[in-house]
């Protein structure tokens, strides 16, 4: 903030309170970085690790962002380069007719009311520069043709709004031209990275992932300890000692999860759920201390970074000599695995078309990527009655399901998680149709925005989801929100706490493990969280 006294309002100015916001054109409204609404910038050490440009200490609230001297030229060249390289980007810059179909579909716009969060306007932040730099009409007519100069204020605006988009792609479901605003955000972020303007919540995981294989920088021995710790907890609960196969050469299946599953509650219960399921099946699988992260924050950084961080998955599958890959409950990881992995780091012709060793089902949908989603795998087991289940153990839960953006919209995984939940829970209620499946509302904290300094913005973005959760809470008494995404499991906790207090968040395989009747298990009195099972409350009290 400026200390200049000439900026201090006079008493009579303070007396005038105008409740209506000023009517200015969007180009004339500069960004105001208020605490709670932006993410901290990437630390220099993380950019250095990744050989990324312009590492420095700075803050978005600084007047001078310490951009490189020739920053304009860098952005212009970077823009041109991407227009040439990606035809979709060129198309998205030219084709929008501003019909407004996307305008009111963004959770950030709905929750915040900020017009620049309308996807059409967010894209216009870039299109206006595109017109000025690359179109004749824009060069000649300027503002009249919707064009504007590239200034440092524009860069600040990009930083603010491209890190206020979770790349959830709800808006693109409604676009008659199929413009993918998430891709525009991705391009915007790539250009910002050329100037060294990224956020730390994305770049620290990327830097960690690059060196240790996972977002948190957990090294192999730490990873081993963590899984063994879970195995001990499982033994306390069930009386069964389970194996933790690590880096096992010749296993049938390589299992990859987001690190959120083995790091933070409530994801850890989901992780224990996978372990119990695989033990019960006697599956010949392995974890990897190298491919110890399915998540890929490269997706929130640049195309090159996605490829760099994803390369370990196929490399590890090859080294261990597995037949195919199974993936855990994660959101953005599946956009990478499903849409990019094959063309970026494939073809994985050394792997086989995934076939369930238990049911013999061939997963034709994963013929090319060779990677199957855990709920596809588990729902197939259930369809063939391969599991003994006691859904009554989940009778204290009244469940609804939040479709995570990427599995729902980027890979069409809609029915499998629901099938699994219905098999393990007796009380399941859907949220309203326009808030689930392809139209699902984002948690508000994806794409690197799930940090605590950005909490206010997250709660704005999470309101449409929270509103729908509150609706089923009031109508059916819902007390558990299930999801298949590690980011969701972290970010929906505050969303529920604020908008629908009393609703807790769970992974699907946590509920599977609670209902799973294992061979030789002792009588269970609690669920994975150590809370008494329905009907066992008194046993616990004794």
């Amino acid at each position: 903030m400026s200390e200049d006294l000439s900026n201090v309002p006079k008493p009579d100015e303070l007396m005038r309170i105008e409740h209506k916001p000023p009517r200015k054109g969007w180009m004339d409204v500069p960004v105001d970085f208020k605490p709670g609404t932006y993410s901290y910038p990437a630390k220099a050490k993380n950019l250095k690790i990744l050989d990324m440009p312009n590492p420095r200490e700075w803050s978005p609230t600084d007047e001078d962002w310490k951009l490189p001297e020739n920053w304009k030229e860098i952005v212009r060249e970077g823009f041109k380069d991407r227009l040439d390289k990606y035809r979709s980007f060129q198309l998205f810059m030219d084709i929008c007719v501003r019909c407004g179909a996307c305008a009111d579909k963004c959770h950030f716009f709905i929750g915040s009311g900020d017009p620049k969060n309308m996807p059409v306007l967010r894209a216009e932040l870039m299109r206006s520069v595109y017109r000025k730099e690359f179109t004749t009409s824009g060069k000649i007519f300027g503002k009249l043709a919707g064009a504007r100069e590239l200034t440092t204020d524009v860069i600040k605006e990009w930083f603010y709004y491209f890190y206020q988009c979770t790349e959830c792609r709800r808006c693109s479901v409604f676009c008659p031209y199929g413009i993918d605003t998430a891709e525009i955000t991705m391009m915007g972020r790539e250009l910002l990275h050329l100037l060294g303007c990224g956020i730390n919540w994305a770049m620290e995981p990327v830097a960690n992932c690059f060196r240790t294989g996972n977002h948190l920088g957990i090294q192999p021995h730490g990873f081993k300890d963590t899984l063994e710790f879970f195995a001990d907890d499982i033994e306390d609960l069930t009386g069964i000692k389970i194996n933790v196969p690590l880096n096992k050469k010749g296993a049938d299946i390589l299992f990859v999860v987001p690190s959120g599953d083995y790091f933070g509650d409530p994801g850890t219960y989901t992780c224990m759920g996978y372990m119990m399921l695989f033990h019960e099946l006697g599956l010949n699988y392995t974890w990897s201390t190298y491919a110890s992260e399915g998540g890929n924050f490269g997706l929130f950084t640049s195309h090159e970074m996605i490829k760099r961080l994803n390369a370990k998955i196929y490399a590890e599958a090859k080294r261990l000599g597995v037949k195919w890959i199974l993936g855990g409950e994660c959101g953005h990881m599946w956009r990478v695995m499903h849409q990019y992995m094959d063309t970026m780091n494939g073809p994985a012709d050394f792997l086989e078309v995934p076939t369930s060793p238990i049911t013999g089902t061939r997963f034709e949908n994963a013929k090319s990527t060779k990677m199957v989603h855990i709920t596809e795998f588990t729902s197939d087991l259930m369809k063939h009655n391969k599991l003994r289940l006691d859904p009554g153990r989940n009778d204290n839960l009244i469940v609804t399901f939040h479709d995570s953006c990427n599995p729902a919209r980027a890979m069409g995984l809609i029915e499998e998680p629901r099938y699994v939940i219905r098999k393990v829970c007796n009380h399941f209620h859907e949220m309203p149709e326009n808030t689930i499946k392809e139209q699902t509302f984002c948690c508000g904290g994806g794409a690197g925005l799930g940090n605590d300094e950005n909490m206010e913005m997250r709660l704005r973005g999470g309101f449409p989801r929270g509103n729908a959760v509150r609706h089923v809470q009031e109508k059916y008494g819902v007390n558990r929100l299930a999801c298949v995404c590690a980011i969701d499991r972290a970010t929906l906790v505050p969303v529920c706490d604020y908008w629908a207090p009393g609703v807790e968040v769970t992974g699907v395989h946590e509920m599977v493990a609670n209902a799973l009747v294992m061979k030789g298990e002792k009588e269970r009195t609690t669920d994975l969280r150590g809370e008494p099972l329905p009907g066992k409350e008194e046993v616990e009290d004794e």
Binding site: I17, H19, K20, P21, R23, K34, G36, T37, A103, D104, F109, I110, G111, S112, G113, D114, P115, M118, I218, G222, T226, F263, G264, D265, P432, N434, T435, D452, M455, E456, L459, R460, F463, P464, N467, A468, H471, V493, P494, D497, Y498, W499
Partner: protein
């Protein structure tokens, strides 16, 4: 009036879209303000009022408003009544009733202030809880919890030894 505290493009959307899930902000505001008005007219209990108020303020407490802007809509009710019923109040000499009604609005404004602060406290609480949760996991992972108190005396003794 409340919806006009948002930018023009936004207030148009907030007014037009009637689906409560597609437009939770606009719908919550119009629904709850009606209830608040009803309660005020009948001078009913404060508990219900604060419940309705909570729904609106919860939203405005995390939006891009200053504290005053977030709760100012309560005072808009005074303007609305004066504008709509000004003539009738003058003709029928209803000033006492008006004063009584405005007294209730003032009381409501105090509720609004309480509610606003409660919401902001909740945001900070949530933020702290998230950070704490993360730090706790890290400490647990690093085996730092529980060991510190046992080791401390040893370290001190050693230090004393080295000094003496």
């Amino acid at each position: 009036m409340i919806l006009e505290t948002y930018p023009p493009d936004t207030s148009r959307f907030l007014k037009q879209e009637k689906n409560q899930f597609a437009n939770p902000v606009g719908n919550t505001i119009s629904l709850e303000i009606e209830d608040i008005y009803e309660e005020l007219l009948h001078g009913r209990d404060s508990e219900k009022l604060s419940h309705f108020l909570d729904r609106i303020i919860k939203i405005r407490a995390i939006q891009d408003f200053s504290p005053a802007q977030a709760v100012v809509f309560v005072f808009h009710l005074k303007n609305a009544v004066r504008e709509e019923l000004g003539g009738k109040i003058r003709n029928d000499q209803l000033f006492e009733e008006l004063l009584e009604f405005e007294r209730r609005i003032d009381k409501l404004a105090l509720f609004a202030f309480d509610t606003y602060v409660k919401c902001r406290e909740k945001v900070y609480e949530i933020r702290v809880a998230e950070v704490k949760n993360r730090v706790f996991s890290l400490l647990k992972r690093a085996d730092l919890i529980g060991e510190i108190s046992e080791q401390e005396p040893d370290i001190r003794e050693k230090n004393i030894d080295s000094v003496t």
